[in-house]
């Protein structure tokens, strides 16, 4: 029955904006190439269906045009298929096709999908159906060997305990000799320790240790930052070593910070989830995509994480300004904002909802309160209401329009082009700004003008 409901509700009333389409691009080159294909010229036989499929033939350099089809109805982000050889995902043809469609051009009329597009859509629908049946209650998840799983978990816990103990020793040695010596020791020592933590199967500790290595070269004030991070690492070690004595919520937070996988088994929460922001960060191994959602009815903020190998965009893509009627389930841990996307009841559709906002003082207090549940937290998502960006020497502040109080921008946010979009949007007048508020300052991600107007992405 679920399947039929899904089909009925995928009717797409409103097309996406060009910005929302371009947000799907895996990199700048693709954005550029896609924009060029977003005009009727190279396309033929393009069309879209009420079920959320968009298709078209794009003339390439060869004699045979590429067959491009996109399924925009999937709430986990659009799915693409193109007969071109590109390894970019989505490829420029898929982006160009969606731009054409977004342009409300007559070039993409509503109609019946050609066979090649219909076959692919049919295959997707069938697989989704199978997955749904497979995931239904009654079918057993897990490997069916609970005793073996328990033994494996115990062995891993022992390794982590050994790793945490070793790390405690190293931290104590560091503090005995003094942080000043760490400046000379350089990066190599920390890389080696991080490798030991990887061996101990604790990716959380490994990542934090690697961070330590970069602090001595991070500019003025580094001893304070290094001491803070060492102390929090020590706190995490101690949390792990004494996890039996911790309350359940905090123990779960420690396990997640250490890097043990959790399952999003919180109770599903259905809401109209507004996509507030989507941005990627990349290190040498992995691209991490963060998507912030705001529940219009529950007034809650939730985080979706998605990963991609280097050079490939993570699969989940939810353009800012869309809202989805869906369930999310929280991962374990006190104050945990990370969720997994559960069942979706309708495809994403543009929405004009804005999150409820607060003052800068309330935002700072919100961060402080969140530290109680998770002392390792760098920032919390907040929406500031009626704030004005103000230049402050080399930096910028977001100041309350009605009070003499301001949050400084985080150092990384000062160099981004989004800062100037925010300043331009404000023009010295109050705006609503969603972002991350923490000990480094405020990082603006999305803003809304005082009057009517769409969300403006700043990241």
């Amino acid at each position: 029955m679920v399947g039929s409901t899904f089909d009925v509700m995928t009717q797409q009333g409103v097309r996406w904006s060009a910005d929302q389409v371009l947000a799907l691009a895996p990199d700048t080159a693709s954005r550029k190439a896609g924009s060029k294909l977003g005009a009727a010229g190279p396309w033929s036989g393009a069309g879209s269906s009420d079920e959320g499929a968009v298709w078209g033939l794009c003339k390439g350099s060869g004699s045979k045009p590429y067959q491009t089809v996109v399924d925009i109805a999937d709430a986990a982000g659009p799915a693409y298929k193109c007969s071109c050889p590109s390894r970019k995902f989505p490829c420029k043809h898929a982006l160009g096709l969606l731009l054409l469609w977004a342009g409300e051009d007559q070039a993409v009329p509503t109609g019946r999908a050609p066979d090649w597009a219909e076959q692919w859509m049919e295959g997707r629908r069938k697989r989704a159906e199978e997955k749904r049946t497979a995931g239904a209650p009654g079918s057993s998840s897990g490997s069916g060997d609970p005793e073996g799983a328990r033994r494996r978990a115990e062995r891993r816990a022992e390794r982590i305990t050994a790793g945490a103990t070793e790390l405690e020793q190293r931290l104590a040695d560091l503090l005995r000799g003094g942080l000043a010596s760490a400046e000379q020791a350089g990066y190599g020592v920390w890389e080696e320790t991080a490798a030991r933590m990887v061996d101990a199967q604790t990716p959380g500790l490994a990542a934090r240790v690697r961070e330590l290595g970069s602090i001595p070269s991070s500019g003025p004030g580094w001893p304070v930052r290094l001491l803070e991070e060492c102390a929090l690492l020590h706190l995490l070690d101690q949390g792990w070593l004494h996890r039996e004595q911790l309350p359940d919520g905090l123990a779960a937070t420690v396990r997640s910070r250490i890097g043990l996988p959790g399952t999003a088994d919180g109770p599903p929460l259905r809401d109209r989830w507004l996509v507030l922001a989507q941005y990627d960060t990349a290190d040498a191994r992995l691209t991490t995509r963060r998507i912030w959602l705001y529940g219009a009815d529950s007034d809650r903020t939730a985080l979706l994480l998605s990963y991609g190998a280097v050079g490939r965009a993570p699969e989940l893509a939810l353009p800012v300004g869309l809202a989805l009627d869906a369930e999310v389930s929280a991962y374990p841990g006190a104050g945990q904002l990370r969720t997994a996307l559960g069942e979706q009841f309708a495809p994403p559709a543009p929405a004009v909802t804005r999150p409820r906002g607060m003052t800068t003082a309330r935002a700072a207090a919100r961060y402080g309160e969140a530290l109680r549940a998770d002392p390792w937290l760098d920032s919390v998502p907040v929406t500031l209401d009626r704030v004005i960006p103000i230049p402050d020497g080399d930096s910028w502040q977001l100041a309350d329009a009605d009070e003499n109080a301001a949050l400084p921008l985080a150092p990384a946010a000062r160099a981004r082009p989004g800062l100037w979009r925010l300043v331009a949007l404000s023009g010295g007048a109050p705006v609503k700004v969603f972002g991350e508020c923490g000990h480094r300052g405020f990082t603006p991600l999305t803003a809304w003008p005082q009057g009517a107007g769409e969300a403006v992405q700043l990241c």
Binding site: A29, L175, N404
Partner: protein, 543 residues
């Protein structure tokens, strides 16, 4: 927040400071404060630092707000329609240098469409969406030709932004008064403010002030300039004098006549040039007498012929009237002087001098001793300077005349300038005739003079000529300049006429290999661009 990475301006929490010092030096050298019994010193230090770190973070409070900037002034213009705003974002996303160059394929060159998008948006008086201003300013920063339209569209908020970001300082320079407000005429203290700004302002502010007043009240600007003229520096006098070009009229003559005796040669030359553009001026009359003495009709030959006797010297009075005595290298000085005399002579004097003939008849007369190109070139310059369409028409001749396409008496650059004195429709007709007779290879410069979108006969002539060029079998990139112009200037309603050209034609034997495919691609791009322009215009409600 209350804590910044540099502890200088924060009330130091002494416990934390001591922990940092102990950590920096090492617990072997410095015993940390407190310390729990039974814990090793470094571990106790880490315990205390963890508590303190979380405590400090949890205690963060907002800082005092810095000085608030004056808000940007209201932009009263209506907001862009949503579809047009999306289009603008797409055009601005297509920045040069962000993708591979090479063959252009069938996709339109979006950045090239930005100028006309801006013109259409400005014509309709829409306000720029504020969040697009950074990208607009960045685009205008890279392309000076975009600046006037981009800044007009960007409006007051762009100037406000430019004061905050040094990358966009050009926006302040381009705004009259460098962003400082000029006295408004309705201001009761305008006279006093104007005088003060004129006497005490920076050079750029004074130029801006003078230009603004000149545009409104030409005489007032001249009088203002006269109050300080004798005390200005030579470079400044030149710039100020140049601003009188706007609204030039007979009442400026006494002032300009006096400037002919200026100490600076450049100032004298500019004054003479301005006076010669006033056909009723005494200088123009003096030049007419001099020039007329050099040119006559000889009736003793088989047909009436113009004879030229160039001046033998450049006397002091000629020099005072702006004649430059020293000829450039490679030119005879007598012909150099002669050209300057004819150029500054009112064209109206020639009919009387040459037997009551019309300009067309005069231009048709043969000229003795190879003086024709010198004489006609000087008349061309005079026709452009005096904006005389009748003479321009006579000098242009019929577009289909054989010499129009080749190196005739009048060069292409001069023709382009002459076209500028004619009305838009006449210009388009002339260029259409030229292309029909001579093809596209010489047409680029002339096409650049025509109003956009091209009038229908002109558009048809260009498309026909492109079609002929394709059938001749050459590659389309020999015509890439004209093709690019056509993408930007052809009337979008012509798109349907191009449908027959989109297919790849059968290759004739003598054609360049693959040319047909490249032509089809070029025409596809042309059609796509035209459709895009039609969509752009529709989104802006300009149809």
């Amino acid at each position: 927040m209350n804590r910044t990475p540099t502890p200088v301006d924060t009330p130091p929490s002494s416990a934390w400071e001591e922990l940092v010092t102990a950590a920096l030096l090492g617990t072997e050298r410095r015993t940390p404060p407190g310390g729990a019994p039974g814990r090793e010193a470094p571990v106790a230090l880490l315990d205390a630092a963890a508590v303190e770190t979380v405590r400090r973070r949890a205690g963060l409070r907002p800082a005092r707000a810095a000085g608030r900037p004056e808000p940007a002034s209201e932009d009263p213009r209506p907001a862009l329609p949503a579809a047009a705003a999306r289009r603008l974002a797409l055009l601005l996303a297509d920045r040069p240098g962000t993708g591979g160059g090479g063959r252009r394929g069938t996709a339109p060159d979006l950045m090239e469409l930005l100028p006309q998008w801006l013109a259409a948006a400005n014509a309709r008086g829409f306000a720029a969406p504020p969040q697009t201003l950074p990208a607009l300013l960045d685009a205008a920063r890279g392309r000076t030709d975009l600046r006037p339209a981009a800044l007009a569209f960007a409006g007051p908020r762009a100037v406000w932004l430019a004061r905050l970001n040094p990358d966009w300082r050009f926006a302040l320079r381009a705004t009259p008064g460098g962003g400082t407000a000029l006295p408004q005429p309705e201001d009761p203290e305008a006279a006093e403010k104007t005088r003060r700004l004129w006497e005490e302002g920076l050079f750029a502010e004074r130029v801006a002030l003078l230009s603004a007043i000149r545009a409104r009240e030409p005489a007032a600007a001249r009088e203002l300039l006269a109050t300080t003229w004798s005390t200005e520096r030579a470079e400044d006098r030149l710039m100020f004098l140049d601003s009188l070009r706007t609204g030039l009229g007979p009442r400026d003559e006494p002032f300009l006549e006096q400037a002919l005796s200026d100490r600076s040669r450049n100032v004298r030359a500019t004054a003479a040039e301005l006076l010669s553009a006033l056909p009723g001026s005494a200088l123009a009359a003096r030049m007419a007498v001099r020039a007329a003495a050099c040119v006559a009709v000889d009736h003793t030959r088989d047909s009436p012929t113009i004879t030229v006797e160039a001046p033998h010297e450049c006397d002091a009075s000629m020099e005072r009237d702006g004649v430059v005595p020293k000829a450039p290298a490679g030119r005879g000085e007598r012909s150099w002087w002669f050209g300057q005399l004819v150029e500054a002579t009112p064209l109206g004097t020639w009919s009387a001098r040459l037997g009551g003939r019309t300009p067309r008849q005069i231009v048709a007369l043969p000229v003795t001793d190879d003086w024709q190109s010198e004489l006609h070139a000087a008349w061309c310059r005079a026709a452009v300077r005096q904006r005389d369409p009748e003479w321009a028409r006579a000098l242009l001749g019929a577009p289909s005349a054989p010499e129009a396409g080749g190196p005739g008496a009048v060069s292409l650059a001069e023709r382009a300038k002459l076209l500028g004195t004619l009305g838009a429709a006449e210009r388009a007709d002339w260029v259409a005739g030229f292309i029909a007779a001579h093809g596209l290879s010489e047409a680029f410069q002339l096409l650049g003079m025509c109003a956009v979108p091209w009038a229908s006969p002109l558009g048809r002539a260009v498309v026909d000529a492109l079609n002929i060029a394709r059938d001749a079998g050459s590659y389309p990139w020999s015509f890439s300049g004209v093709m690019g112009l056509a993408e930007r200037c052809l009337d979008p309603s012509e798109a349907s006429r191009l449908n027959g050209l989109l297919a790849v034609p059968d290759e004739p034997e003598d054609a360049s290999p693959g040319a047909g495919g490249y032509w089809a691609e070029a025409f596809q791009r042309l059609v796509t661009t035209l459709r895009l322009r039609a969509a752009m215009a529709e989104e802006l409600g300009a149809v």
